[in-house]
């Protein structure tokens, strides 16, 4: 483009000295822009993928008599309550067991401590049952699953809450 214009002007003006234009252009801003775009696209492509947590639910068996019951000595029950409260006890929660319900929270010193306690860790058969109350939040469920992952607890199940568990929480809160 520049050259063509140059020729035209020199033809008309006669003795006008042809100005020598350098064909080189400063590419620095262009490079800057390109690098910026690269950075943008690189970051957006890698960070846009959402994280997930895989969860396997126990298969619902139509015949309850085929299921092997968990022994009370190998069971720990965690109840997720409202307002981010957590309760746990060892055993299956049958009234004759008279389990000692302990209230705790989701912090590192709370439920995590209970999950790494020797009673859980030294027993490879220990099964943790998570029973969220209807009033608990979804975050509570994710948090507790996360704690189980952090503490490397392999055997756990998400179980529906029973009336006896609700009663246990009620008496605990009533105290």
């Amino acid at each position: 483009m520049a050259e063509i214009q140059e020729k035209a002007s020199s033809g008309k003006g006669g003795k006008k000295r042809a100005k020598k234009h350098s064909t080189k252009i400063d590419m620095t801003p262009m490079v800057d822009l390109a690098a910026l775009l690269i950075t943008f696209f690189m970051l957006t492509t890698t960070f846009s993928k959402p994280q997930t947590m895989e969860i396997n639910m126990p298969v619902k068996d139509d015949k309850p008599e085929n299921q092997i019951p968990v022994k009370a000595s190998n069971a720990m029950t965690i109840i997720l309550g409202e307002d981010d409260k957590v309760f746990y006890y060892f055993g299956l929660g049958a009234p004759e067991e008279n389990p000692e319900v302990i209230e705790t929270d989701y912090s590192a010193a709370g439920i995590r401590k209970a999950l790494v306690s020797p009673r859980v860790k030294s027993n490879p058969k220990m099964t943790v049952m998570i029973k969220p109350l209807e009033t608990s939040r979804y975050k509570n469920m994710v948090d507790i699953l996360d704690e189980l992952r952090i503490t490397d607890t392999k055997k756990f199940a998400l179980v529906d809450i029973t009336d006896t568990d609700k009663q246990l929480v009620k008496t605990k809160l009533g105290q």
């Binding site: 400063d26 490079v31 994280q51 997930t52 590192a108 979804y138 952090i150």
Partner: protein
């Protein structure tokens, strides 16, 4: 004494190959990047230490927002078109070509089947502002189950991801999980945010 000619080096270097390379990379990233899908609702997902990434394709996303509404979303335009046909015949509604096209471009939606026709008839901005009631999932009218079932019939590789809000009550999530378990889907994903794993227990 002869004059020593100092050779003057031009400090500017030829950037053309660099620019070529950069634009090649820009083009590559632009083409590979998929446009972020528009969300109908803003959902604040809880965080976890899990580092598994959600797959790119063949994902059903069940979004549960904090008002206990459930939204259904699946990827793949062809899948969505076929899915709409199946659902239309199941529920005795019909959709024309234009509505089917609109549906195939939706990332997710939360309207019952009988309201879907009027929802698809809206234009873009109107659709964005309309208050979607969520997909019904009561035991008497569980449309979510049919949506999932039909999608799974069409695409066997599909993975189900639940994207729940932090504050959604557990009973709603439980209903969604029960809907999945009724179909013998016992393995699914929960979409979470990143969180650093604590160093010591």
């Amino acid at each position: 004494m002869p004059r020593v000619k100092v050779k003057r080096n031009n400090p500017s270097l030829d950037m053309t190959p660099m620019v070529d390379l950069f634009f090649l990379l820009v083009t590559f990233f632009m083409l590979t990047a998929t446009a972020r899908e528009e969300e109908v609702v803003i959902v604040d997902t809880p965080s976890s230490v899990s580092e598994i990434k959600l797959p790119d394709a063949n994902v059903i996303t069940l979004t549960v927002d904090k008002n206990d509404r459930v939204f259904f979303g699946v990827d793949g335009q062809q899948t969505k078109k076929a899915l709409l046909d199946k659902m239309a015949s199941k529920y005795g509604v019909s959709f024309d070509e234009k509505e089917s096209k609109t549906f195939s471009l939706l990332s997710n939606f939360g309207v019952p089947v009988n309201q879907l026709k009027s929802y698809l008839a809206m234009d873009g901005t109107e659709r964005k502002n309309v208050n979607q009631p969520g997909i019904p999932l009561d035991s008497t009218n569980n449309q979510l189950r049919d949506w999932i079932l039909e999608t799974r019939k069409l695409n066997q590789k599909v993975v189900i991801a639940i994207k729940g809000d932090v504050d959604v009550s557990y009973s709603t999530v439980q209903k969604v999980i029960e809907t999945l378990q009724d179909q013998k889907v016992n393995r699914f994903n929960l979409v979470t945010d990143m969180e650093a794993r604590p160093k010591s227990l």
